[in-house]
Amino acid sequence: MFLKKITLAAAITALTSTTALACEINGRVSIVGNEFPAIQTVGAGAKECQGGEVNTNLTADHQKINLAGMQGDPAEYTSAIIANSSIVALMNDDVIRPLDDLVAKHGGNLKKNQLITIDGKIMAVAFMANAQHLVYRKDILEEIGVEPPKTYEEMLEAAKMIRDKGILENPVGGAYKSGWNLAQEFNNMFLGFGGQHFKPGTAEPNINSEAGIKALEMMKALSEYMNPDFLTHDSNATNAEYRAGNVALMNMWGSRAATLTTAEGVPQEVIDGFAIAGPMTVGGGETPASTLWWDGWTVAKNIPDEEAEATFIAMNHAIRPDILSDDNVAIQAVWLIDGYEPTEKAIGVFEAANAGTIPYPMLPYMGLMHTALGNELADFMQGKESAEQALADVEAAYTAAAKEKGFLQ
């Protein structure tokens, strides 16, 4: 009898708590986005809503489909989860709507710094921050008796000591895969050396400069301490190298750092030696050689207002402060949500923000520059051409693309 009462009480509590969390929508919601853990949480949160159909399409290929899926009228996707780099493509083609009225009506739980405003209009709601920063093996650094590196120059010294002592053959890890990843590592290093991608106020490229050459030379120096296959290693492959205990120092995404050593079969010394620090500087500069990122969601322009409202409610429900009470969710990312307490794993991203890291540029033509860098830098990294030639090739490839897109005459 007593048991029955307890069960009943528990059932009632469960019921009331679900009603408290209930999310009622009347309209279709369809979400497209990336697939890493924090975004899976957001997608699942939106699916809790009742009263309308909620679909999610979370895939690493989201950028190939989100624009096409929002250009139709009515749009297939009512919301795209994007980052500060990828919102630009949606802005360029004018497929997302300003959210000011919906924020005023339903967005009471949002903090001001979550609202991404472009020309005074709220175009997206950010829910997490991200940056690349140092991940290292404290046991190996203790063995050689050095502090965690604060600069890339110190990283090179430590790498040399680790190799010379015969601890690891290729102690440095890096997502240097030809294409997007390689370009991103160049961006980090280039900004760290004080470079600017474009001549101020124009779409003219400005990377064939002293900062560009120094950035490439540093990348080349680092690659000497990497697995010889580094041009095929993306973040996943680099993480696998770290988990296997082959890497002692690497620049890695915050969003992947928290769960780095939780995979199956990771050796105990890798789990125990796992440590995180802020991003490094380079060439005596003050600004870290890294970029700051946010991830957030948008609402499509070409959909009826009811669907837009339903989408806003569902997405807002998915990032309500409550979700942080689940410890597994709290460690998934550096959440921008109200009430977030940074965990030990979040220190890298926090230090990146505090040290004045530059946010990834939100410029209409930055994507073209990123693609050109990704295509043209591999030759230099393989020693096939000089840094000046590689940078001249990047500028030429970018210029051809920017002319096609109408950014340059």
Binding site: Q63, K64, L67, S85, S86, V88, A89, M91, N92, D94, N113, L115, I116, T117, I118, D119, G120, A129, K177, S178, G179, A203, P228, D229, F230, L231, T232, D234, L292, W294, L336, P359, P361, M362, L363, P364, Y365, M366, G367, L368, H370, T371, N375, D379, M381, Q382, E385, Q389, D393, A396, A397, T399, A400, A401, K403, E404, K405, G406, F407, Q409
Partner: protein
């Protein structure tokens, strides 16, 4: 067949071909001659979690007017075909004028994406196609001479490379060829060089892709030739045996001539397929060493900002390339056809 009957018989197929083959090609060709409007840029203040910043963005109001006035975009003529990402006419001219020797000129040409991709694509096509035809024929002859109880099993295993999706097949091989993988370690042991990495060397990557290309397409040639062998008239073989032909002479003078139309067919299909090589480059993460025209199309359409006109121009050029490659074979078939009439 009467013309009238033929017309009604062919109409559904013709309509489908018009709709699904001709119309998309026409649209791609049109797209390749137009580029997006000039972007009207404005500087605005953007704010987010990391503070506010003056940044450039596209003026949507002004751009919308331009778009509505000319929905297709700006007419660009052949300018996309001639720009650096494609035929790179200006750059080739400069390279020619500034080069002292032919070798230097080709070195400079290899720095331009289109010509670099063409070099790999043609090497791949002309290495893979003949090899897979010879290999396919050898497998077909071998399987054909097996005992009938064994045939079914062997045919199944020979077809496996074709059954495995190309991307998956290349990924599996990619992992095995890693310097820590089973094949990669074996090669290091054979070469007696512990630092050897297939993925870090351009020539080895090319060889790896070519071997993969032969491995994945040989079963297709095998199946076609094996089917052809079943139609081989036994009286011709017996006659050649009575004449004292060796096994090699039988293959050379009876079997191969009988299969010749099929060889043409396999060559046609494989030339087309290999010229459009894409999956192995993606699967082997080989873009630092080898690129193809199809890879450019994928690349143009997977960046944060799409280059539709550039991708269309590359598609049209792929089409032209395939037509040029196939022209000798097609011409030959046409002559044979004329000869028979």
């Amino acid at each position: 067949m009467k013309h009238r009957t033929f017309f009604w018989f062919f109409l559904p197929t013709g309509l489908a071909m018009l709709l699904f083959i001709a119309a998309p090609i026409v649209s791609v060709v049109i797209q390749s001659f137009y580029t997006p409007h000039e972007a009207v840029l404005v500087t605005v203040e953007n704010c987010g979690p990391f503070g506010c910043k003056e940044e450039t963005t596209i003026d949507q109001e002004a751009t919308r007017e331009l778009r509505e006035a000319e929905p297709l975009g700006r007419f660009a003529g052949f300018s996309i075909y001639l720009d650096r990402g494609h035929l790179a006419v200006t750059e080739v001219g400069q390279a020619w004028q500034s080069s002292q020797s032919v070798g230097e000129f080709f070195g400079k040409l290899g720095n331009l994406p289109f010509y670099r991709a063409l070099a790999f694509t043609l090497t791949y096509t002309f290495a893979v196609t003949p090899t897979l035809i010879v290999l396919g024929l050898m497998i077909a002859l071998a399987v054909n001479s097996l005992h009938r109880h064994l045939k079914g099993l062997i045919i199944f295993f020979s077809l496996l490379p074709m059954i495995v999706p190309p991307l998956l097949g290349s990924l599996v091989l990619f992992w095995m060829l890693d310097s820590r993988g089973i094949l990669g370690s074996a090669i290091q042991w054979l070469a007696n060089d512990p630092g050897l990495s297939l993925k870090a060397s351009t020539p080895l990557t090319w060889i790896m892709l070519i071997v993969y290309g032969v491995w994945s397409s040989a079963p297709f040639a095998f199946v076609v030739f094996y089917a052809g062998l079943q139609t081989l008239p036994s009286d011709q073989i017996e006659a050649s045996q009575i004449d004292g032909a060796t096994r090699w002479q039988q293959v050379r003078f009876v079997v191969v001539p009988h299969l010749m139309p099929l060889v043409t067919f396999v060559a046609l299909i494989q030339l087309m397929d290999n010229f459009k090589v894409l999956e192995p480059i993606v699967g082997f993460n080989a873009e630092a060493h080898a690129q193809s025209l199809s890879f450019f199309i994928l690349n143009d359409l997977s960046g944060e900002t799409w280059l539709l006109s550039s991708a269309s121009a590359t598609s049209v050029m792929t089409l032209v390339g395939v037509a040029i490659l196939l022209s000798p074979v097609l011409l030959r078939t046409w002559r044979d056809f004329k000869g028979k009439q």
